[in-house]
Symmetry: C2
Subunit: 448 residues, 2 copies
């Protein structure tokens, strides 16, 4: 054995009071797995503890507005579930998930053109766990994952935890750029790099707020099929579009080449933690085994609650009312940006989902700005959190899903003021010093 | 890139009807991570699908008897939770878990002599996830985990999934043998093997049914402390003892050297999937980060439901009535074994928990016997599932937690008949051929 080194560890109390007993020394500092070194708390975590105060308008969080749900109905439904089906709802379930719920999930996916059997669905603890299990079964340290730049912060955290190398693919207001995808694959294959899959959020991207257009969808499918690269299609916002019918999922046109990740966190509620993966048979088999070794089985109670909700409540109507709610907030955010932001600032115009991706003028650093913004009682997520390589300093993610429209306008007013000051400072003293960036920013669950 | 090989994969439909569409070919067979090769479905899985039929007496499952719960009360409580606290219960929570529930968990642990702060508790998706996260942050491929022989099948599956090398420590009817622990550590350290931790179930062992006595507890703590080896104390059954007060936990006497894993699956219900880890600060920090990258956060709904149950229901009384229920079933099993089993068969006499560990006479193989037992409408888990090296063929785990006492007696009658036949066959034709054993048997969630 190597002798134990004794080292004092930084406390990361996640905004809570420190424990009153036990040693602050990490006696096991040299015992952790290599992958654990990739697990670092976000530098901005502490700041977000402040940002969660009521006086701060948070344009940072990705929390759905669950208050819009018919709580009495849901309450009745869960009590009915326990009294009528308690012995099942309170017992262990199967690793793959409740068979009836998996049937219902297939119905939901049909809205996006997917025809699949319940036997190819694995119910997971939010789609975050599906992402973790997929990474677990495919990624060896050093393997390459392709992802849009920017990409979902929670996915980047998971890829880092499995020591994957994330290579970003360029994205514009029409989504991922097929030429960039093809060129990157060619370059990596030429260099002999092991590409394991493409991780993409084609519809209402987090954080980009853009959607992959129809022509490009076929191109992306073709490029990946030719290269034999699996596609992980993460689609939590697909049913939250503001105009017309839901987009056709990538999975709808390639059952064998795409693993589809879905979730009820945005169309119902995240508190149940019910998501799923739809995968080709062989991959599904591995996912079920990985699921069992990770948690044995998901909560029967929350699975049956979601199933009961889908069976007894007008869930299509509920999703429609969510759409109206979020559309109004998106409009409030876009109008406020239009009328209040300095002309040098630009942003995307989402057709659905929760997020707007804003770009600051040359020389400004969103992470350097965040503390000043929080002091002015407004919060956002700096762009660096959405890249694995520390780029993105000129960008910020603005969420419109949670605050009321008036609060959104007020938040933008405060943020515009801060940015104007920053521009003046830049013009007077030159570029704001960009702080170095270490690791992946993971602002915590409520901000994912 | 290596060119893609095409290979047909075995279907493992987990006892369900095969999917009606999609390819049976695994196009990604050579793309999986090295750890995925360690994930194999149990050979006996299909058999247990049969064993779950009502006419079969299952002495195999570890399912608690949740029917004994006050379902109306629980139903009321969850509906009240949604109607009164819906916006919190249905929203994302923190990665570490609900702060109030963590306080309540500390109260529960006080019954076993543990004094801890809520800030050192991480709520997990059952204690299985705590086990997964601990393994994730400590185990690199080839690292050594010490565990009793036999050990919990779900833990062995998780260790295998992270490519750990499990070294078993001898156990007798007083629990783990300290001399064996000390000698094994010495031998491994001399050989330069990286021992990451000791995984132990000191109280009402699964599958052993034995409890580490008080004298040995101190010895095990001393041995591990001297060697600087972390102890993972898995204690789901600690409050389900049939005589006297709960045993004092190992963690109670060494806060810095023990990670304690607890669960509400056996004292309340597994359907909520609420377990926890109590860990030294530095390890807790890593566990929270690992938790967030694995699932973002546990279900707020089930966490608050458990908290509400603890706050409003007479949970001490409920646990007492569970104890009485399981005591009666243990007595039924032990009496039936005493009066019906051939004299060559021996077994342990648990003072609590769910399991009896039986040993067959020389020359019998429990896995070879299982199909015949199932044909006679009785099921058990063969001993080989509880060892990482395929040993244990002469042993079987008998669970008394789920069937009613009369069914238990009937099950033992059937099993005794099968074993008698096996003994006659052995005496006539010699040793039953032990089938080779591949991988770790994971009989699935309901059997863990």
């Amino acid at each position: 054995m190597t002798p134990r080194r004794w080292a004092v560890t930084e406390e990361q109390d996640h905004g809570q009071t420190p424990a009153t007993q036990g040693s602050r020394i990490d006696a096991y500092v040299d015992r952790y797995a290599a992958r654990a070194t990739g697990m670092v708390a976000s530098e901005i975590r502490a700041l977000f503890a402040v940002a969660s105060r009521p006086e701060v308008v948070s344009l940072a969080g990705g929390m759905p507005y669950v208050t819009a749900l018919p709580l009495d109905m849901v309450g009745e439904l869960v009590s009915d579930l326990v009294t009528r089906r308690g012995p099942v709802a309170l017992q262990y379930g199967s690793g793959q998930g409740d068979p009836h719920l998996r049937e219902q999930i297939c119905e939901v996916m049909r809205l996006e053109g997917i025809h699949a059997g319940a036997n190819d669905v694995v119910v997971t603890v939010g789609s975050q766990q599906a992402l973790d299990l997929i990474t677990r079964i495919f990624i060896d340290p050093g393997d390459v994952v392709l992802a849009e730049g920017p990409s979902y912060v929670g996915a980047l955290g998971t890829f880092a935890a499995y020591q994957a190398k994330v290579v970003h693919i360029a994205m514009d207001d029409q989504g991922i750029v097929p030429e960039s995808l093809a060129q990157t694959i060619y370059a990596l294959e030429t260099a002999g790099a092991p590409i394991k899959f493409l991780y993409t959020i084609p519809t209402f991207h987090n954080p980009g707020g853009v959607t992959l257009n129809i022509a490009r969808r076929q191109q992306v499918l073709d490029i990946c099929q030719r290269a034999g690269i699996l596609i992980i299609e993460d689609n939590p916002y697909g049913l939250l579009g503001f105009d017309g019918e839901p987009m056709r999922a990538l999975r709808a046109d390639n059952p064998d080449g795409v693993v589809y990740l879905g979730s009820f966190s945005k169309t119902l509620a995240p508190g149940f933690r019910v998501g799923w993966a739809l995968a080709p048979h062989a991959i599904r088999d591995k996912l079920v085994l990985a699921m069992e070794s990770a948690v044995l089985s998901h909560s029967s109670f929350t699975q049956l609650a979601v199933g009961q909700y889908l069976a007894t409540q007008p869930w299509h109507e509920q999703i429609k009312s969510f759409r109206e709610l979020y559309r109004e907030r998106r409009d409030a955010l876009l109008d406020a940006l239009e009328s209040l932001m300095p002309p040098e600032v630009t942003w995307t115009r989402p057709g659905g989902g929760f997020f707007v991706w804003a770009t600051l003028p040359e020389g400004l650093d969103s992470k350097a700005i965040l503390p000043r913004a929080v002091a002015e009682r407004v919060a956002f997520v700096p762009g660096t959190g959405f890249f694995s390589d520390g780029s993105g300093a000129r960008h910020m993610r603005l969420s419109y899903c949670y605050p009321e429209p008036d609060r959104i306008r007020e938040g933008v007013r405060r943020l515009a003021g801060v940015i104007e000051q920053e521009i003046q400072l830049r013009d007077t003293f030159g570029t704001a010093s960009a702080r170095d960036h270490q690791g992946v920013d993971t602002p915590g669950p409520d901000l994912a």
